[in-house]
């Protein structure tokens, strides 16, 4: 039972990271109508920058704090140079051009830091674990990731629901010309939103460093899972991103942890050893297929789309 | 009296909180030209969409040519003889005018799982299409890319595509919208020649066109049909004058 709880927390932690990614992607799509495959690259850039800054300053926290604005800056530069011209193009152009950006970023990272995976070491204060319940210790760092993620979600909620920027974001998602008519500099708004999305992806990436391998291509592994999140949750809605991220995070984590042992009680252990991992890695996609079959618009479709 | 060609009972459709059509009853007799007028936002286009089968009604039934078509979608209704034009011109812009019409002919000549013979060489598609195109006055423009036709010609092309499906009922959503005087006159003349040959439901803001073409008129306000009658009756109806004509014919 405690094991289930622990894995549940891991699922929550993964879900939080998926949410940070999905929120940026879905905001950018909802407002600028841009399918940005290179969103995963920003995640990767965040992870690498955090690692590099941590080594440079000798402090993990300082590295993280520097990496966040740096990733935002990278996002803004990419938006201004390459993506801005894509807003009016069709989805095919957007997909291909951002695919080109992915190739570029993955190679750039490989040139600067090499192709081998690098790992970030945590400061002693974060690398331990603490007693969550009697008999259950949980890694401090993963708990911190959950806390930061939840805080970011709350921040995003407040930003969208009760600030002027949030008002523009909500209005922009439903009516572009109206926002322009309000006299808002729409290009600056777009750059700002893109930067926000980049910062969220960077936050997810810099937190991922100490948990997962930091390597070229890491962005796309998570990106495709984020697509599943968005397909399940419904595109363009933050609420959908939250729900989708939690569902995918839980199902993926719990599936990997418990599918094989569960299967071995039904079929032979040998067969379970074979089918278990295969099924676990396919689980979220199968779930996506099921959701689509019954609800082609996802669980939380945005109205009027 | 014979059964109406299309009979609508209690048709409703809401978008969010807005009731676009609200328990609409409508009978269109075989052979008549029936205009639906009303201020912008009255739900006329929604009604056309529901008649064509593009929008599923929240409630109500639709009978067409003696059978219940409520659950049929647009392609199925088209094959029963229901054709439409759209409020915003809707053609295949990257095909020639003739291709546009030939596609409509093709859609009504059995299934299209033919993989070998070039469709553009099929006389049974091209000849009827050319005939229809000539009938609407676009015979000389057959090989022009539809995107390059003038606005008025594109609207004529839409009519041609509808006619090529050999419809029993033609749903026309503002066929003269955005046209100049001369183009409007040409379109009204074209529609006059179609009267009697085919039943027409006409949504239109241009009152000259409406009173020239319509045998009967229904007035729609806030999603409801508030009056139906001959042009004279509608013109004299006090409620209509107050609700609609009194506010000005264009909004």
């Amino acid at each position: 039972m405690l094991l289930v709880l622990e894995q549940g927390l891991n699922g929550l932690q993964y879900g939080v990271m998926l949410f940070l990614m999905a929120a940026g992607l879905t905001l950018v799509f909802g407002i600028m109508n841009l399918v940005n495959l290179a969103h995963g690259s920003l995640y990767m850039v965040g992870a690498y920058l955090a690692t590099a800054f941590a080594r440079w300053t000798g402090s993990f926290v300082l590295g993280a704090l520097l990496a966040l604005p740096a990733t935002l800056l990278v996002g803004v530069v990419v938006e201004v140079i390459a993506l801005r011209t894509l807003y009016e193009r069709d989805h095919l152009d957007q997909v291909l051009a951002t695919f080109g950006l992915i190739l570029f970023f993955n190679e750039l990272v490989a040139i600067v830091w090499g192709r081998a995976a690098i790992y970030t070491s945590l400061p002693p204060s974060l690398s331990g674990s603490f007693v969550l319940l009697p008999g259950l210790r949980y890694p401090t760092y993963r708990a911190l990731v959950i806390l930061v993620g939840v805080a970011a979600a709350v921040f995003l909620y407040v930003l969208v629901t009760s600030t002027r920027l949030g008002m523009l974001i909500r209005a922009g998602a439903s009516n572009r010309t109206m926002v322009a008519a309000l006299g808002v500099n729409i290009r600056r708004l777009y750059t700002l939103v893109f930067g926000l999305g980049a910062a969220l992806a960077g936050l997810a990436g810099l937190m991922a460093g100490p948990i997962y391998a930091v390597q070229p291509g890491m962005g796309e592994q998570i990106l495709i899972q984020v697509f599943v999140v968005i397909i399940i949750g419904g595109i363009g809605s933050i609420r959908g991103a939250v729900a989708g991220a939690m569902v995918v995070g839980m199902v993926d984590t719990l599936g990997r942890a418990f599918l094989r042992p569960t299967l071995s009680t039904i079929v032979s252990p040998a067969a379970a050893d074979k089918a278990g991992p295969a099924l676990a890695s396919m689980l979220i996609y199968l779930m996506m297929a099921a959701v689509l079959f019954f609800r082609p618009q996802g669980l939380f479709p945005t109205r009027g789309r | 009296m014979a059964e109406p060609l299309i009979a609508v009972r209690g048709l409703s459709k809401s978008f969010g909180g807005l009731r676009a059509t609200d328990r609409v009853d409508l009978d269109v007799e075989d052979g008549e030209t029936h205009a639906i007028i009303g201020p912008n936002g009255a739900g006329k286009t929604t009604l056309i969409g529901q008649l064509a089968g593009d929008l599923r009604p929240d409630a109500g039934t639709t009978r067409f040519a003696g059978r219940d078509v409520t659950s049929l979608d647009a392609p199925a209704r088209s094959r029963l003889g229901l054709a439409r034009s759209f409020q915003i011109t809707s053609i295949f812009p990257d095909f020639s005018a003739l291709d546009n019409v030939a596609l409509a002919v093709q859609a009504h000549s059995g299934h299209s799982f033919h993989f070998w013979r070039p469709a553009r060489a099929e006389r049974e598609l091209r000849e009827p299409a050319l005939a229809v195109l000539g009938g609407v006055g676009l015979g000389a423009r057959a090989d022009v890319l539809a995107a390059n036709l003038a606005h008025g010609e594109q609207r004529q092309l839409e009519i041609a595509m509808a006619l090529a499906t050999r419809p029993r009922l033609l749903l026309l959503d503002e066929p003269v919208a955005g046209m100049g005087l001369e183009e409007t006159q040409r379109m009204v003349r074209l529609l006059s020649t179609l009267k009697r040959r085919v039943t027409i439901v006409l949504v239109e803001h241009d009152m000259d066109a409406v009173f020239t073409l319509a045998d009967r008129i229904s007035v729609m306000v806030y999603g409801r049909i508030i009056a139906t009658g001959s042009p004279e009756e509608v013109r004299g109806n006090a409620e209509v004058r107050r609700a609609y004509l009194g506010e000005g014919t264009e909004s």
């Binding site: 051009a97 697509f227 | 088209s78 596609l103 299209s112």
Partner: protein, 311 residues
């Protein structure tokens, strides 16, 4: 004028491709037979994608899935000692078509960005499935024991014979594709791409036609996969990697969407470019990426659009 020019380009292309083996033999550069065969195999894949992407308007980011399924069909049969090519290739086509049917039924009801993400996600699922098939080499893949056998009819171990088989198949698919897109079937999917509400209003029910096109394209790409397994004599989940789908898509755009011949040109140019660049630097993708962006932004009509343009 455009037609005749197109025909000339086509004929010239076919002749040039047919000349590759003797010329490579003269120059004593057998490597080029290998390279051009690989190009033509990807040309078949890109051609099949053009059917649904260019003519059907379905932006599938998962075309590598069928490449993988076709390759695995050959590889798994060979693993168990079944090397009959007729059987292997038939199953490759059938299995890819079946997968396309399932993916298509679920994805074609959706549209736009959903379609892109769903096709991408399903292909990723198959990629992970490939990785977890430990029996067939898992992550690392496994060598193909022997190339497909055709009862002595043709020997694929002969590089030139294999080359001409691929060339014949490519020309066959070009012909079939041309007939198909101009026939009634093609007109339906093209009209649905052009204006789906209009297509529905005149009485077409596009879903089943789009699905049929999706299945046909999947089957054709499955055959390309079977060829690819024979080409590399190796089987790896990397055939299904999502970047492969992106590459095939880029071939279509680079060569010219909705032209059938364009994707062939795109495959030749992209793989040729990769070959040249990778000889220059290990980090050739840093050049290819921005090149891709530039092509999308400034040369949307593709190479074939440039050469076959009027006047």
């Amino acid at each position: 004028m455009a037609i005749s020019r197109r025909a000339i380009v086509l004929a010239a292309g076919a002749v040039l491709l047919a000349l590759v083996p003797p010329v490579a033999g003269l120059l004593n550069q057998p490597f080029y037979v290998d390279l051009f065969r690989r190009m033509m195999i990807f040309a078949i894949a890109a051609l099949s994608l053009d059917l649904i992407l260019g003519y059907g308007g379905m932006v599938s980011f998962g075309h590598a899935a069928y490449l993988g399924i076709g390759a695995y069909a050959v590889g798994i049969f060979a693993f168990y000692g079944v090397d009959n090519g007729f059987l292997q290739w038939s199953v490759a086509i059938a299995a890819s078509a079946a997968a396309a049917l399932v993916i298509g039924v679920i994805s074609i009801r959706t549209s736009g960005v959903y379609f892109i993400m769903i096709t991408l996600a399903f292909t990723q699922m198959l990629y992970y499935l490939g990785i977890s098939l430990e029996t067939y080499g898992g992550d690392n893949g496994m060598p193909l024991k022997t190339r497909s056998q055709f009862a002595g009819l043709v020997d694929l171990r002969n590089p030139s014979a294999f080359y001409y088989v691929v060339l014949a198949l490519l020309l066959l698919f070009l012909l079939l594709g041309r007939r198909l897109v101009d026939a009634r079937f093609g007109m339906v999917i093209r009209s649905a791409r052009s204006n789906e509400p209009r297509a529905r209003a005149i009485g077409f029910a596009p879903f089943r036609y789009k699905l049929a096109a999706f299945v046909l394209a999947g089957g054709a790409c499955g055959l390309a996969g079977a060829l690819l397994a024979n080409q590399t004599e190796y089987l790896t989940p990397d055939f299904m990697h999502w970047t492969r789908s992106g590459e095939i898509m880029f071939m279509v755009i680079l060569g010219g969407m909705r032209t059938l011949f364009g994707p062939v040109l795109g495959a030749v140019v992209l793989l040729g470019l990769e070959d040249v660049l990778s000889a220059l630097t290990e980090h050739w993708q840093i050049i290819l990426g921005p090149f891709l962006v530039v092509v999308v932004l400034f040369a949307k009509r593709g190479l074939f659009g440039l050469v076959s343009r009027d006047g």
